[in-house]
Subunit: 400 residues, 2 copies
């Protein structure tokens, strides 16, 4: 039996949720497994919505009209069901479909295909939200470390995590390591590569990772505090897998990838193989037709991201406070079988704004500041500003 609740999200849009009263939410004869639930935003007039939803339902699995389905097995096992159609605007509907898990073949790429393969090419359809059955989520595996594992690795409990970034691209290995040293000496918990740092001629991957790890170790000797250096993995899959192995051999404790650049299914493969936390960057992930909460808040962690970077509200990107709250909420409350992952708001944040940001997110957050630290006139100023950032986070007392 399925119950529906409507609530008004922080961004003012109507949202809807499906609640469960038992292990099987939407079941039908011949469907042995709990289905995948997908919520779409569909632009269609009320008179046309039923036909449009029928076409969408078929498009995402069998891709043929019912008359062409050929066998009883196909008709009974590969065709999903419409769970709910809710009108939310004059010609706009939120549509919940239940699609058979068997169609997704327990495969991350084929799951994306069922969710938003062909219909991504239809401008009247947007992907709004995703609910996987716990068994399928378990196959994908979700964050292998998550909030708890990253906190154990860092040895930090009860407060927010501080992070900054090594940029711009174009610095030599020596210059990058020097920047890394300064940031580590300021007491930052995490210093990561810019997501645009590849195996560049001016900064070869292995040399850079070795030098930055040495820089953080040297800083730890002086301060007694550990800074986790996180290298960026980027390239075709064979390159990313090789870089992951090299990073591990050199002693890195975590890595970063941009799943939409390298391919979202590679995140899932990497998370299952690498044995250390994976931080996900949203580059190439912007689409007005996939809601940020669906991509960054649900799919990235389902596929194995332990921490997900996203543009914070108020910066040079466009996400609203409501979207950021939704993404953080989805990451921290992922549902059965999946570990909570860290939200990592970033982009345009300042030291002065920290108290408000901390009160907004609470302590289970990684705060990533780049530009407003790095736009310092010299190394002494950079060290001072980074130390202020660290102090602001350490000294914060939450009001809620």
């Amino acid at each position: 039996m399925t119950f529906r609740r409507q609530s008004k999200g922080r961004n003012g849009h109507m949202r809807h949720f499906c609640f469960l009263s038992g292990p099987r939410r939407v079941a039908w004869p011949g469907m042995p497994q709990e289905p995948i639930e997908v919520v779409y935003r569909v632009r269609a007039a009320k008179a046309d919505i039923d036909a449009r939803v029928e076409a969408l339902l078929l498009e995402q699995t069998v891709e043929l009209p019912r008359s062409a389905l050929r066998t009883a097995f196909v008709r009974e096992n590969l065709v999903g069901r419409v769970v709910a159609i809710e009108q939310v605007g004059e010609a706009e509907h939120l549509v919940t479909l239940a699609q058979p898990r068997v169609a997704a073949a327990d495969d991350p790429a084929q799951l994306l295909n069922v969710l938003f393969g062909n219909c991504s090419l239809q401008p009247e359809i947007g992907l709004e939200d995703v609910r996987l059955p716990a068994a399928l989520a378990g196959v994908l595996g979700g964050p292998r470390f998550g909030i708890a594992g990253l906190r154990r690795l860092l040895g930090i409990h009860g407060r927010a995590i501080t992070a900054s970034v090594l940029k711009p691209i174009g610095l030599s290995v020596k210059e990058t390591a020097s920047l890394c040293a300064t940031l580590a000496l300021s007491g930052l918990d995490i210093v990561k590569d810019d997501h645009g740092l590849a195996d560049h001629s001016f900064s070869p991957f292995v040399e850079r990772v070795a030098a930055c790890l040495a820089a953080t170790r040297a800083a730890e000797q002086r301060t007694g505090r550990r800074t986790l250096y996180v290298p960026n993995l980027i390239g075709p899959p064979a390159t990313v897998v090789r870089q992951a192995r090299q990073a591990k051999e050199l002693g890195a404790g975590a890595v970063m990838v941009s799943p939409m650049l390298v391919g979202l299914p590679l995140l899932n493969q990497l998370a299952g193989e690498i044995g250390m936390p994976v931080i996900a960057h949203p580059a190439f992930g912007g689409s007005p037709r996939i809601s940020p909460v669906a991509l960054l808040g649900r799919l990235f962690p389902l596929f194995g991201a332990d921490a997900v970077i996203y543009p914070n509200f108020g910066g040079r990107f466009s996400y609203s406070r409501g979207s950021c709250a939704e993404i953080a909420g989805a990451l921290r409350s992922p549902g059965a079988g999946i570990a909570p992952a860290f939200p990592v708001p970033a982009g345009g944040m300042t030291i002065e704004g920290m108290p408000a940001v901390l009160d907004f997110y609470g302590p289970d957050v990684v705060l990533l500041i780049g530009g407003s630290l790095l736009d310092s006139p010299d190394e002494a100023a950079l060290l001072s500003r980074s130390s202020q950032f660290v102090a602001a986070v350490h000294s914060h007392r939450f009001t809620r």
Copy 2:
């Protein structure tokens, strides 16, 4: 010296092109390599456009304000140039940037990052077109077979290629092979897996590929005509690479992938390793902020697709005649160093519509019809309709 021409595309939008008078289009002191040219559609008022373009220019490589660039090397080698800003609407501009090739590290994933990484998260920016220097295109490799190689493989010259698809998903291996046999007996040149066929429990990959290859060989014995069966590769990269090897060992002559599902850089890796033609499917590739010609017409072939499937105009997808002509044009006239690739219009085409479609595209096209053949009441009707499709293409006399 750079010249600019404006022309009105078939879809009515203004487009602009940059023409070259020599091997280096946009050069500046300290920039040893020909740059990458990127065209963006930018929503901004005229009064704000210069500042918005400066921010975009920096965002895509150094991601910092100029004051934070730290070294002369970064300032001289990692910051691109504005080539052109053309107002095309009240608050809309086409902006051409020249970005340094060194930023892309000759890597397909990092190239995507420079083109549309962070700015994909900014709704006022769209990726409109891409021009790579020939040397970088050569590193990526482009189509390894292309139109000429696929024609040699098929032994077909001077006419359009016919293709259909094995669907719906949910058929058993035996049922799929039976369908494949019927389609091959009708004389189709290519029969491909549905892009939603994965390593499903009801249709394991190796069994399916072996059975379909056997079906096409048996049909060839009867008809004397070869049908190329093209299996779909899908999964995380390790799975796709394994499936490619298995397909080759079983005797397949070409493969299909959906680059946006499996990861666009994997297409580039696969094309370089596999030694057979790769057909690309557009699933998960829809974005109103990446123009179809940029993604399907330029990036897919640059990364190695020998043939690119896209939604034809007039079907259940939304591409206009103008967009389809642009995609086909980009695939067939890719510029220096890159082989021409086959356009593969698909979706909603009928046998009755073939003459008009053929006159629109000319002979260098693969025509892919699925639903309107497969919605046949029985195998005899399917064989008859497929044979009509084949006859319509073979007998067509082009009017242009």
